[in-house]
């Protein structure tokens, strides 16, 4: 589904990704872990098409298409969804109108008829329960004045509405208390199927108790330096990242 080969990316000349290789197949959950500054969020941003990052080398294909050739909106329309670490507050843009526009533009791209107001609202209602989001929140401006937990829930709600093929959760656990974390993780798990895949970017193992990964990759200095199964995450939780740093830094000396 997603194939990343030797991906290099920089921001204003500072290289952050230095040769990422990753294969994700339908039905899989991949966790990307790593110490602060290792490039985890950059990877998520580059995949979603954030313009500040310049890709200098490598390729990314998604369902057979050259992902790097696509605009951010077309990536979303192809089925990529980035759950933001810091969802943006947009005063004056109503959550409902925004989502209706997004859903219908995605449908149009896929050659589907747009949803009318009635079917859109019933779709919304059916997805709201998934993340226990209150309808009142959705009648407000997008994310404006939402608590940290509400913002993250809204991200997963949007994900449910857009039904992506590949969801990238960027530090979705940051700023969440344990109850909110459970609700968000449950939402993600309910959306999982044999046809879609999830990349969970996180610093802590905590989230992986709820969203169980098939593979865990450790990112350090812009490269994946270690891959394993969910046991690797537990090992990291116990021992921290220092032993990996030493392993990598020692090897390069």
């Amino acid at each position: 589904m997603l194939s990343i080969k030797n991906l290099h990316a920089n921001i204003e000349g500072t290289e952050i990704l230095r040769g990422i290789n990753l294969e994700v197949k339908p039905g899989e959950v991949h966790a990307i872990m790593g110490p602060n500054g290792s490039g985890k969020s950059t990877l998520a941003s580059v995949l979603a098409g954030r313009e500040e990052y310049e890709v200098s080398e490598g390729e990314v294909s998604f369902l057979g298409k050259d992902l790097l050739d696509l605009s951010p909106e077309d990536r979303a329309r192809e089925g990529i969804f980035l759950a933001f670490q810091y969802p943006v507050e947009i005063p004056g843009v109503s959550s409902t109108n925004f989502l209706k526009t997004a859903v219908n533009q995605v449908r149009e791209y896929r050659g589907q008829e747009p949803l009318d107001a009635v079917s859109f609202l019933s779709l919304m209602k059916s997805k709201m329960g998934l993340v226990e989001i209150d309808q009142k929140l959705l009648s407000r401006s997008l994310n404006e004045g939402f608590s940290g937990g509400e913002k993250k829930r809204n991200e997963i709600f949007q994900m449910a509405m857009l039904e992506p093929k590949l969801a990238i959760l960027d530090e979705t656990d940051s700023g969440l208390d344990i109850d909110a974390l459970r609700i968000v993780a449950n939402g993600v798990n309910k959306l999982k199927s044999a046809d879609n895949a999830t990349i969970v970017v996180t610093h802590y193992q905590r989230l992986l108790d709820y969203i169980v990964p098939d593979y865990v990759h450790v990112l350090y200095k812009g490269r994946i330096v270690k891959s394993g199964t969910k046991e690797l995450a537990l090992e990291l939780e116990e021992k921290g990242y220092d032993w990996i740093k030493e392993e990598v830094d020692g090897a390069t000396v």
């Binding site: 951010p72 943006v88 947009i90 859903v103 533009q105 401006s141 857009l162």
Partner: protein
């Protein structure tokens, strides 16, 4: 001869026939004439017109300051910019002069067209009392040349059932129109007013309008203005508002098109418990130049003023904002808020913004802020990352930025008209 000189010559004033004027009106006329002879039109770089070289622009357009004659208003012009579903009393002006044929209003609306030969008591009390000729050359000019004054009076507890709309029809003659309106009220009156200037594309003219509004105690008045004129239009208008105790006045301005437009809004809060709301939105493209000068004078305690002006400027358009807030020593417990936010969409667009606060009282809450920037890239990316195309996302953000300025317009049909125009300008058809 340059205009500023032209406006000062004896020849210039000779064209008038002040002989018929009643004494009070004649005094006001003479004061205006003297002010004009003394000060002339604003000189280049004059502080109040620093970024709006109005005299030079009028000269360049070869505008005559003599009052324009009435013209034949075509049926197509009367249909222009009609606000759908608006049920209003219509007061029409033909090149600045009251036009009875195109006006239609309820018999209950107290309208007097004053030619100056006789004066009602309330006219005599209020006319020229707020717009002082020595304050601004264009007040003086209007006072000298406004042939007739449309005076609308709201009696005690009178609540206008319909809004009153002023439609100023303008011809293409490089001459000047001097519409003059006086709105007065007694206690507990309520009413809403709308102003539109209607001109054909390509029409060149100068319109120098002046409206004085007297808000008696406990009145609620609103004044709305939509500027959507020809690209050649030159305008200087002044709205002078005088508010007594516990009155509420709100103004809404939507500027969409014009050559050079200067809007002066001056509000005096003359009694405690007064509230003044000033809202302005300018969405400019092409070469349009819009200058908003506002001032609010807190003369008594416990008054609130809220000011929100926002602009989106594209192409080589230019915006100017100057917001003065005066809080007199006696005006304790004043709340005065001012905000001016701008988004520049092109490298050639400019905005000059200047808050000017003078506060002599010590127990007050005053704040002001101005921002100028580009569209929020992070918000744009967020919307795109959900599948919303860049053009739609941009329009969505701009509309959200702009729409809150007019959100409180209470006349539904007018608000919808404004929103449609905002959407059209910002390409918000998503």
């Amino acid at each position: 001869m340059e205009l500023t000189q032209q406006a000062q010559t004896a020849e210039f004033f000779k064209r008038l026939n002040p002989n018929k004027l009643a004494q009070n009106r004649l005094d006001i006329f003479n004061q205006a004439k003297e002010a004009l002879i003394k000060n002339g039109l604003p000189k280049l770089k004059e502080e109040e017109y620093k970024f709006t070289a109005i005299t030079k622009t009028l000269d360049k357009a070869k505008v005559s300051l003599l009052p324009a004659e009435k013209f034949d208003i075509s049926a197509s012009l009367t249909r222009k910019e009609v606000i759908a579903d608006l049920d209003a009393d219509i007061i029409a002006f033909n090149n600045g002069v009251y036009d009875a044929n195109l006006s239609s209003y309820s018999p209950s609306l107290n309208v007097n067209v004053e030619d100056g030969s006789t004066e009602t008591a309330s006219f005599k009390k209020h006319f020229g009392s707020y717009a002082k000729a020595d304050k601004d050359a264009f007040i003086a000019l209007n006072t000298v040349y406004a042939k007739e004054v449309v005076h609308i009076h709201l009696a005690k507890k009178e609540v206008l059932t319909k809004p009153v709309i002023f439609r100023y029809y303008q011809s293409n003659n490089q001459e000047t129109s001097y519409p003059r309106v006086l709105i007065t009220s007694e206690e507990f009156a309520e009413g809403a007013f709308i102003e539109q200037i209607i001109s054909e594309e390509g029409s060149g003219y100068f319109i120098n309008g002046l409206t004085e509004i007297y808000c008696a105690e406990n009145t609620h008045l609103q004044y709305h203005k939509v500027q959507k004129q020809s690209k050649e239009a030159i305008e200087v208008n002044t709205l002078e508002v005088f508010q007594e105790k516990s009155s509420t006045f709100s103004s809404y301005l939507l500027s969409l098109q014009g050559g050079m437009l200067r809007n002066n809004l001056n509000i005096t809060l003359n009694g405690s418990g007064g509230e003044a709301n000033m809202n302005g939105l300018y969405l400019l493209n092409g070469q349009s130049h819009v200058d908003n000068h506002t001032s609010v004078d807190h003369r008594e305690p416990h008054c609130n003023s809220n000011e929100l002006y926002k602009g989106v400027l594209d192409d080589s358009s230019r915006g100017v904002f100057n917001g003065k807030i005066y809080v007199r020593r006696i005006a304790q417990k004043t709340n005065a808020f001012q905000q001016n936010n701008n988004i520049l969409l092109s490298e050639d667009a400019t905005i000059n913004t200047k808050p000017q606060l003078e506060i002599w009282a010590d127990d007050v809450k005053c704040s002001h802020g101005c921002t100028t920037g580009q569209l929020d890239e992070e918000a744009l990316f967020y919307l795109q990352a959900r599948g919303v195309g860049k053009v739609s996302a941009r329009a969505m953000l701009l509309e959200a930025f702009a729409a809150d300025v007019i959100a409180n317009v209470s006349i539904d049909s007018l608000r919808n008209y404004m929103i449609d125009n905002i959407k059209e300008r910002l390409g918000a058809h998503y």
